[in-house]
Amino acid sequence: MQGKNSIVIRLVLVITLSSIVIFAVTLGYNYYQSRVILQNELESNARNLAMSLVNRVEIQLTGVTKVTKGLAHYVETDKQTEQKLLSWIRTTVENNPEIYGAFVAFEPYAFSAKSRLYAPYYYREKGKIVFEGLENSYIDYPYPYWDWYQIPRELGKLEWSEPYFDEGAGNILMSTCSLPFYKEVNGKKQLQGVVGADVSLDALTEYISSVKILRTGYAALLTRNGTILAHPLKDAIMNDSFFSIAEERQEPFLRELGKKMVRGETGFVHYKSLVGFTSWMYYTPIPSTGWALAVLFPEAELLEDVRKLSMTMAAMGFVGILLLTLAVIYIAKAIIKPLQLLAAATDEIASGNFDVALPMVRSNDEVGGLTHDFQAMQASLKEYIKNLTETTAAKERIQSELKVATNIQASLLPRIFPPFPDHPEFDIYASMVPAKEVGGDFYDFFFIDEKNLCFLIADVSDKGVPAALYMMVAKTLLKTEGQRLGEPDKMLSSVNRILATDNESCMFTTVFCAILDITTGDVRFANAGHNPPLIIDSLGVRYLTPKPGLMLGAMSETVFLTERFALEQEGTLFLYTDGVTEAKNPEDMLYGEERLLKALQIAPQEDLAKMIHYISSEVSYHANGAPQSDDITMLAIKISKKRSA
């Protein structure tokens, strides 16, 4: 189950996270790029807007400038009477509705030598045109000391005054355009006074203030000193300057910006507006007055569309990724499901149930292939287990049969000692230790007649079941032929003939066969390729040297010879097979005839069983744990001192 979860989760995580990253990067780039494009467009839009506003202001101001210049020209060129001058000023005010008032202010004694100051002024009041003599208006502080007179007089050029509230004229925001005028005296220009026109700025500032950019964006106007002339913050108008606000809010950036604006520079900046929202601002001067005009675009509103688009895209992306995740989960589960079924089935197989049905192969994909392979594996496993069960059963059967065979073989060899308790003339003892379950060695002894005891030892080539079968045949033949013929050479020749006939497998057996006359101790013997036995008597221990003879079963026409020797009283004849002399130790060293000879010299001689057990233990001591490769068989026969007859 854990495997299933982890595959699904991994797929979902990898695919979903990758999609989210790709989508987020795309969306972010799109947003950023849109902003950049918008900003570039914004700058030109802002410039165009600002320029058109500047134009509007300039048109109005230029009209006033023209009127002022016309008035100056009139005063300079016409040698006028007071009557004519007054009527001209009045007409000028009348004909130019944009003008609030107009005046001609003379230098001291310039108009007439009689009066020091003379400054007629016509202005509108409640729809009527009213006259005022400015020389009388300012008693403590005569007009030649006022800025609107002083500045153009000193500079000698047209000058717009800082806007101001004219309290005497009905509290309107005004600015005065003043221009000095001259008289030619002896070819030299001589200052005569200053003409001027007042213009109400209410309309202008109202117009600027009414400009709406998007929803909360606005336009603003600053004077040359930075005083706020038009702004949505009504309270600030004429009360605050850009610098005082900067000071109050402790924003050095604002001060720097204000300086640039007042200096008459043009620029485009991103900043937090006085109203308090982040915005883009374009500022540029109004050339004739030196005021600064600014237009503000609130960023949030500018980017609103982009933001909305981005939000929509994000929502769509979210839904898309959700759908994608669901699709991935569906596919992953679809892939996992057959795997899960297969895993459950293989669990069953692993626990030993080979008959469990594997899920049907429905697809040609990898899972289908896997299921198919598992089916094949299941079938061959089943077959293999079946075979294994059968072979194991067969093997067990063979094992048990071999055990039976071993028992049968053992029961064939005389095992009860002493075998002839009523014959004290001799002792006989023998043992056979098979290398495999059934051996190829055997021994036998039996009476041919009352005084002749036949004893023999034999070694069938090869071991195991075939050797055991061959051994049974050989043993039976030797006994029957021995009892029938009574002489060793005849026995061997006869048995050899029978064995050699149709001996396809070329099996053979070596035999040492002897007949002891228990009354005399005479031994007649014949050897068919067997190891020479040892004699243990008063002369010591020595090997008998029989004439060589071919093994039984090898060649049908083999001739055997009977030899004789007399076994003295207390003499022992020791017969053995090559399992004794060819017993190997772990270094592959054979036990050998030398060692056997020496062992017999010190072996117990009285009791044959002890003698044989001693040799047996010597051989296993020599083998030192090395596996026994051949049957170990020994037979000893001894003439007793006391003979019955």
Partner: protein
Amino acid sequence: MDLQTRIENNAIVVSISGRLDAVTAPEYEKSIRELIESGHIHIVVDFEQLDYISSAGLRGLLLMAKLLNAKGGRACLANVKGNVQSVFDMCGFNAVFKMGNSVAEALTMLI
């Protein structure tokens, strides 16, 4: 056991080394059977390098003699000595096989 064959004077010389016992005899029998079946019926077995022969090895040699008799062929043994010699003496193999003191001598005995 290691078994090598070479052809010399129209006969095949089989050199065996190591041990010829119950473990290696089947291999020897198989090789000899193949040689005889492929028509090599004059064989010299060189015992120069042989250390040990067991009754199973003797059986292999007898089998070879039997197979060759059936085909009208013949085998001679060369360089039989030491332990192997005494086993051969004991079991009367001298009556079954002709033996040469060298491969060359054994080859002459084949004729």
